[in-house]
């Protein structure tokens, strides 16, 4: 019984740790993202946040990706607010374990 409890507790802890390690990048699909001005304004705004470690914008894929710093996070509502304040429309938010450099390489190679 105790062994079963230990295994379950360990698995739960591992799952929690994995989740925390996984969702360190936010990938957003943004409408109106057609020019370098757009990208410049959005990047400038996102880089001012304490939670932001790095930012990547792809006009081709209409995505804005943010690598999060430490255990910090930015809520979906805040992201939507930031994009609206920048003059753009947030269409979709996805949280991923994929590092920013991998997204950069993936979008450049496709």
């Amino acid at each position: 019984m105790f062994r079963k409890f230990l295994i379950t507790a360990t698995l739960a802890m591992l799952a929690g740790t994995t989740f925390a390690q996984e969702a360190r990048t936010i990938e957003m699909t943004v409408d109106g993202l057609v020019c370098a001005f757009c990208a410049q304004g959005i990047e400038k705004k996102l880089r001012k946040l304490d939670a932001t470690d790095d930012v990547f914008v792809s006009l081709e894929h209409k995505i804005v990706a943010v690598a999060l710093k430490g255990e910090q996070d930015i809520s979906d509502a805040r992201l939507s607010e930031l994009l609206t304040e920048a003059g753009y429309t947030l269409r979709e938010v996805k949280r991923t374990a994929e590092p920013l450099d991998t997204i950069r390489k993936r979008t450049h190679s496709s």
């Binding site: 020019c35 370098a36 304004g41 006009l59």
Partner: protein
């Protein structure tokens, strides 16, 4: 002949499916200078606290093509984004602006108060760009408008961090005795941006074979 060719290219650009905006982005500065083929020269500097408005000042120099007069207009201006359409593959904008300033000219004495107003509508994808702009200047001694139509085509699809290239055809109409007829120009535009700032350069020739150029910085 050249005007006809330019119009044909403009039509082609429209069927094949980028603009200097008075507001680039929120908390951003814009500084630009345009040399318009010896007829007009304009320098502007704006600060945009939010993405939908900016405040700044400008200087406009007009030299009538028939050398009848030259005018120097200094002004303060407010730019306002009336409407923006954010589409998955495109963006459209309507801007309106207006301001007040002082004008000197060699066809009257002293300085006169001059007000200005205008509007700009643009539509842009990564491949094509169209912009229509009207600038109106008025004082007790003169009134004139400068209407500018630009159609652009990108030879390749650029991405952020790279250099964007646009082939632009421009048609400009002046009222108030500045230039007789429509002045057309073929331009090449180069644009590069990073988070710290962007540089925009545009250069070409008009149908009179005169240089037209513009440089703009955003940061």
């Amino acid at each position: 002949m050249l005007s006809k060719r330019l119009l044909a290219l403009a039509a082609l650009a429209l069927t094949a499916p980028a603009a200097a905006k008075p507001i680039a982005f929120g908390d951003g500065y814009t500084a630009m200078y345009e040399y318009g083929a010896g007829t007009m020269q304009e320098a502007q500097a704006f600060y945009a606290p939010r993405y939908w408005y900016s405040l700044g000042a400008g200087y406009l120099r007009l030299d009538a093509a028939d050398e009848a007069f030259s005018r120097d207009i200094s002004y303060a201006r407010f730019n306002y984004l009336v409407r923006r359409w954010n589409l998955p593959e495109a963006q459209g904008n309507v801007f309106a602006y207006g301001g007040l300033g002082a004008a000197r000219s060699d066809d009257y004495d002293g300085t006169k108060v001059a007000w200005n107003g205008g509007a700009q509508a643009d539509y842009e994808t990564r491949r094509i760009y169209a912009s229509l702009k009207a600038d109106y200047q008025h004082s007790s001694a003169f009134a004139h408008r400068i209407d500018t139509l630009q159609l652009g085509l990108a030879p390749y699809l650029h991405d952020y961090g790279g250099i964007a290239t646009w082939f632009v055809l421009q048609a400009r109409n002046y009222t108030g005795g500045i230039y007789d007829g429509i002045e057309s120009a073929a331009l090449i535009r180069l644009f590069g941006a990073r988070a710290w700032g962007s540089v925009w350069f545009e250069g070409g020739v008009t149908n009179d074979g005169t240089l037209q150029t513009m440089v703009m910085f955003n940061f």
